[in-house]
Amino acid sequence: MIIEIIYFISLIIFNIFLSFIFLFLFRKINAKFQGRKGLLLIVPKDLRKTIGSTKIMQQFYDILKLFYKQTIIPKNSHKKIFIISPIISFILSIIIIPFLYFPIINDAQQKFLFIPFDLLIITYAIILIHIFWNIGAYASASPWAYIGIERSEKLNFFAQISFISSIFSIAILSNSLSLKEIVIKQDIPYILLNPFSAISFILFILVNFNLKPFDVSEIEVEIVSGPFTEYSGKLLGLIELTKTILFYINSILFINIFLKSGEFFSSIINLFLLLIFAGIFVIILSIINNIFPSYRIDQALKIYPILVIIFSSLSLMLSFIYKIFFG
């Protein structure tokens, strides 16, 4: 029993560690597209004393620093909700990690967490994280947060449709709601079988992480930092940590579902393949993030629903067609 607990704790810590590296990758690639050098991978000797020997864990230090900062709770806010909702969303993000499919550690995981409908748990956890953030922001009673929540909820409504239909079309395709089964049953990667589903997933991620062109809920120049305007110190650190983990979870989940989790060869290579694919996925996200300015809210609300409806219905239809003719 103890061994299993240690196993899960180390699994979570390892994954959080990986998530920091993913965010480093994201920031580095953004910088590269902008023609900058970006965070230094190796800091030259003379500077090591002041800024550390590598910047790969920058996100970790950012968050750690936020934890050491003064936390301010606004006077007018509903204190309990304001504090508790980031904590709940953090716990939710931690809960998702063991459900993810990793080629090597799968067997040990299987004993405990082989739940036939784990995909549903992941889906709802991811959606709930966002909802709790917005509840917490609503409790902060800031006008900028209100505008941010209003925008974020409007877009997230469609984003969730997109996400759910993407997941469900895969579930229909594979005839299962278990992530493990989906991975194992994939003979051909689902991204080839049902590319619309993958696009729906990406559409969801764009809104979920406030990537351009749909970053209307957190755009700095219009509304300071959207829903998170009032958060500071430890709570902001917690939100940042959750965001980092969520970013990581979503990219891994994408590979799990659509690219057979990288399970093409023997086990150790598979893990690397998984991470490499996930890295490529991050690069694609970064490209989209970097070649567009952001939409105005009304433009976003005009275009995004249309995209969502087209791609999610296409993906569901495609899955049904496969189901009818081949399954």
């Binding site: 910088a31 900058r36 500077l47 002041t50 800024i51 230090y61 620093k65």
Partner: protein, 147 residues
């Protein structure tokens, strides 16, 4: 161990709040120029933030005009401790060209150090972005020694 981590975290992720307090825009443009591809201050993990609550370092440009004083004080008080103030340009340091040779300039509330303690001085009119980067590195060193 914890205090060591705390110190490292503060040094490795210095977030900057930029405060424009009058002045001619030259220093502001040069401060923003540290973000661009050529100078890219982000490679050190430095980030320009929009809220003083998140900042560790305040960059002040310009001879502080009287209309800016209350705002400067508020921003200074909002930045949590430990904080470091970098005064950039001769305006922020001594009112530069706007000083009246010892007499009071009615429009200005005087240099930054009259109003808040300044920790790092970056002279220049305006300083080159390299000099501003040097100032930030100095500020990080100072940050590590503060409690």
């Amino acid at each position: 161990m914890l205090s060591w981590l705390k110190k490292k975290a503060r040094m490795y992720s210095p977030w900057i709040y930029h405060f424009h307090a009058g002045g001619c825009n030259g220093c502001d443009i040069e401060t923003f120029a540290t973000l661009i591809p050529r100078f890219d201050i982000e490679r050190f993990g430095v980030k320009l933030v929009n809220s003083p609550r998140h900042a560790d370092i305040i960059i002040i440009n310009g001879p502080i005009t009287k209309q800016f004083v209350p705002m400067l004080l508020r921003v200074y008080n909002q930045v949590p401790n430990p904080k470091v103030v970098i005064a950039i340009g001769s305006c922020a340091l001594t009112c530069g060209v706007f000083n009246r040779n010892g007499e009071e300039n009615y429009a200005l509330a005087g240099p930054a150090e009259k109003i808040i303690p300044v920790d790092v001085c970056v002279p220049g009119c305006p300083p080159k972005p390299e000099a501003i980067i040097q100032g930030v590195i100095f500020a990080i060193k100072k940050l590590s020694s503060k409690k």
